[in-house]
């Protein structure tokens, strides 16, 4: 006899989705910090003021300016790593992930809880300092802690509905962050014509690839550093796990696993929206995207991803009035 799966509470689905999103967000912020710091070391002098762009990737430029003023290394690191009042700092993300985990402790595995708790103990101890003693070590610890959490999540709980919600959350967050980092490089650091192809430009593009752990994989596939190929790789690659197309594809797959609807069709707004985005990315050509304007493309992409997030909220997490059907 097959025991039917336990139904999943909407609140629990919401919490595991956000738990995974916040962990992914914390990891990405650590990546941005680490790579930027690394870049400063490679190009001293020239880049001394290059902390502003990473603030721009977050989309919280005004907030930063208001609270800190100048984008010095110390200010930016403080803001992005430890600022308890900034909801997207590594500190806040890990706290939020843990609060979500705490509210579903009976659903996630003890190992997952212990790992998220270790991250929490680490970050609260670190945050007592103004900035990390060693930024690279700190960023490494956060990244590894988040990877470990992802690995534990993958291998200690059944790949059931709740697990698929963590997958959707993680993939959407990752796609969003990859988009943002590309956007910043392309428009804020847009090199003057004279700089194209210089070591200066190469170093920036390499840093960008490294920030998403894509440098080595890109080299294997394309060899030379070429901006349009990098855009193609990070947006449209079907194999690289941090590429936007790959992430959206996996999120789509997970959503179908949740509803049981075969892929290629849809039974709710979230599936319809994500399916549209997935096929758009599956059949896109980078040349066409560049012609239409990359920044415009990113804007549209982010709007679509925000809509998907809203639809998921309505379809699965919303506290529906009694008696209403699931797709109401």
């Amino acid at each position: 006899m097959i025991t039917p799966a336990q139904p999943l509470l909407s609140r629990v689905a919401n919490a595991v989705y956000w738990m995974a999103r916040y962990i992914e967000r914390a990891e990405n912020v650590a990546r941005f910090l680490d790579v930027n710091h690394n870049l400063m070391l490679d190009l001293p002098g020239v880049f001394s003021s290059q902390w502003q762009p990473i603030i721009n990737t977050t989309g919280d430029r005004e907030l930063f300016a208001e609270r800190y003023g100048e984008a010095t290394q110390q200010n930016v690191v403080r803001f992005l790593a430890f600022d308890a009042e900034y909801p997207n700092s590594i500190y806040s993300c890990i706290l939020a992930a843990r609060e979500n985990a705490r509210s579903v402790r009976e659903t996630i595995s003890s190992e997952m809880w212990q790992q998220i708790n270790s991250l929490y103990l680490m970050i609260t101890a670190e945050a007592r300092k103004t900035v990390p003693e060693s930024l690279p070590e700190f960023c490494h610890a956060v990244r590894m802690g988040c990877h470990l959490f992802e690995g534990i999540t993958h291998s200690t709980v059944s790949h059931n509905e709740a697990w698929y919600f963590t997958s959707v959350g993680r993939r959407l967050e990752r796609a969003d962050k990859t988009t943002r980092v590309l956007d910043v490089k392309y428009f804020i650091l847009l090199p003057s014509v004279a700089d194209v192809g210089t070591p200066f430009d190469d170093a920036q593009w390499s840093a960008l690839l490294k920030s998403v752990s894509g440098f080595e994989m890109y080299r294997k596939k394309y060899g030379r550093i070429a901006p349009d190929r990098i855009v193609e790789f990070l947006l449209l690659d079907g194999e690289f796990p941090r590429a936007v197309r790959y992430s959206i594809g996996r999120a789509d797959q997970a959503l179908h696993a949740i509803t049981g609807t075969p892929r290629g069709g849809f039974s709710c707004a979230s599936e319809q929206r994500i399916g549209l985005l997935r096929s758009e990315l599956d059949f896109a050509r980078v040349e066409a995207i560049l012609e239409g304007g990359l920044h415009e493309f990113f804007d549209a992409l982010q709007t679509k991803m925000n809509t998907i997030d809203e639809c998921i909220g309505n379809d699965f997490f919303a506290q529906r009035p009694e008696g209403a059907g699931i797709w109401a």
Binding site: P7, L9, R102, E161, I326
Partner: protein
């Protein structure tokens, strides 16, 4: 670490006799501890504390900044109860829970005990925890107290007394289970030698009892209702739900529709049959109790009244938890069971009686004064440890609202050796056994030994700096 410098100091010590020799049933443990090399025990103690922090086994302190969590202080040295003593406690608890259920059922039906003049009616009707909304309710087997955590204390005379009944939403059993896991890792050999009775069947027993409340339901769905992550016992709620494999729900997850209770899932509404609720009566259903409750489920009481859902504990059972009504439990036992209480009450002065009040006001420096309807060590005055100003404040409060205050002599709670820095000192303890009651009564062999970690303190509540110890009940036939 050695016990050679340890003194019992005129208190009843759970481990050592007055002449300093170990009680016979704890000798093996004493030998084991003394055979450990220097520093071993402390290393174990620190390892256990680290483990509890890593595992996030923490509680929230009310009034502390949001999200503040502490580990519940834990002492490695267990409290051991001999087989014969436990049998006495067990019989006493079964008798008491039986009588309390009969009493609550009587109060919400014919009120015979009031008509027969055993308890003054005004005492019941004035109890803050008396719920007139519960009149005429018929929970299965007329059981109102499904999960109880009775507080027992041992006085200088070596006898156990009931201090409080804790019928409403008693907590702490998760620490019993977790403490045992820690100690099994540290003293495996002692467990083998002493025949310590296991406590790990508790979650299964609890689930069985809860499922049995859904009469006639083949596959009942049980859920555990928590006030949420900011509740001080949230860890326990999630732990018990996890151990039983049931859903942990908050009020907003549940909805009453067409008279039945459902939970909101990603695939629609799913029927719920039994709710182990860890939310107070007041907050359970804004349509019946407090209107401003955000924790409850509108319509829940109507569903309960119609028999569509079972609730454990039964709403309204707190009437017997009022500290004034507590004083009448021995009378209830005589009335319903036709026998004297096996476990005596602590003598209690009821301030609503003129003579008692007079006596209490004249002896505030010697008595423990408690407010009738609070728990957790709040609203309490420990006379011998109080200041003049505190006593004056309580005198005013007692005179303003005599019904709300009781007083008891300050007991010399028994002590257990406890690790303090690098040596042992005696610390006062109480004992909270857990009792499950469905068709039958089950007493978990063990319980939570709470320990006042501060030197000389008699307050064991976790909110007031108390800690805990593992509690070993020995099986008959062991070395006891």
């Amino acid at each position: 670490m050695r016990f050679s410098a340890y003194r019992t100091e005129s208190f009843y010590d759970e481990m050592f006799q007055d002449d300093g020799t170990p009680r016979p049933h704890v000798r093996l443990l004493v030998d084991t501890i003394e055979s450990l090399s220097d520093g071993h025990l402390l290393r174990y103690q620190h390892a256990a504390e680290r483990l509890l922090l890593q595992m996030g086994i923490t509680f929230n302190v009310y009034g502390d900044s949001a999200g503040a969590e502490r580990i519940f202080p834990f002492d490695l040295i267990p409290r051991i109860i001999a087989a014969g003593e436990w049998q006495h406690i067990e019989r006493g608890l079964v008798q008491r829970i039986h009588a309390l259920n009969a009493f609550i059922d009587d109060i919400y039906h014919d009120q015979k005990i009031l008509k027969d003049g055993v308890i003054p009616a005004e005492v019941i009707l004035s109890a803050a925890s008396y719920r007139k909304q519960c009149h005429g309710l018929n929970p299965p087997w007329r059981v109102w107290c499904h999960i109880t955590g009775t507080d027992l204390v041992r006085d200088r005379d070596g006898r156990f007394y009931v201090l409080e009944d804790n019928l409403r939403v008693p907590s702490g059993v998760s620490y019993v289970l977790e403490n045992r896991e820690v100690l099994k890792r540290i003293f495996p050999a002692v467990f083998e030698g002493l025949l310590v009775r296991p406590v790990n069947e508790y979650p299964s027993r609890l689930l069985e009892m809860l499922e049995s409340l859904a009469l006639g339901e083949q596959h009942p769905r049980v859920v555990l209702l928590t006030p949420g992550i900011y509740n001080s016992a949230y860890f326990e709620h999630s732990y018990l739900a996890q151990q039983m494999g049931v859903q942990l729900v908050e009020g907003r997850d549940l909805v009453v529709s067409g008279g039945d209770v459902f939970m909101r899932t990603t695939k629609g509404l799913e029927r719920v049959h039994v709710i182990y609720r860890r939310v107070d009566d007041d907050f359970m259903d804004p349509e019946v109790f407090r209107e401003d409750s955000m924790l409850g489920v509108p319509g829940l009481m109507a569903a309960y009244r119609a028999g569509r859902v079972a609730l454990a504990n039964a709403p309204g059972n707190g009437v017997a938890d009022d500290k004034v009504i507590y004083a009448y439990v021995p009378d209830m036992i005589r009335y319903y069971e036709g026998a004297d209480a096996i476990l005596p009450n602590v003598p209690t002065y009821l301030c609503y009686r003129d003579a008692d009040r007079q006596y209490v006001l004249e002896h505030l420096d010697q008595l423990v004064v408690k407010s009738a309807n609070e728990s957790g060590g709040y609203g309490m005055l420990v006379g011998p440890h109080s200041t003049q100003a505190e006593r004056e404040e309580f005198a005013v409060r007692i005179q303003a609202n005599p019904r709300n205050y009781v007083a008891q002599p300050t007991l010399a709670l028994s002590r257990v050796p406890t690790i303090v820095d690098d040596h042992f000192e005696g610390r006062h303890v109480d004992l909270r056994p857990y009792v499950l009651c469905g068709r039958e009564i089950f007493v978990l062999p063990g319980g939570l030994t709470r320990v006042a970690m501060k030197k000389g303190s008699l307050v064991v509540n976790s909110s007031q700096g108390g800690g805990s110890k593992d509690t070993w009940v020995l099986a008959p036939g062991g070395q006891s």
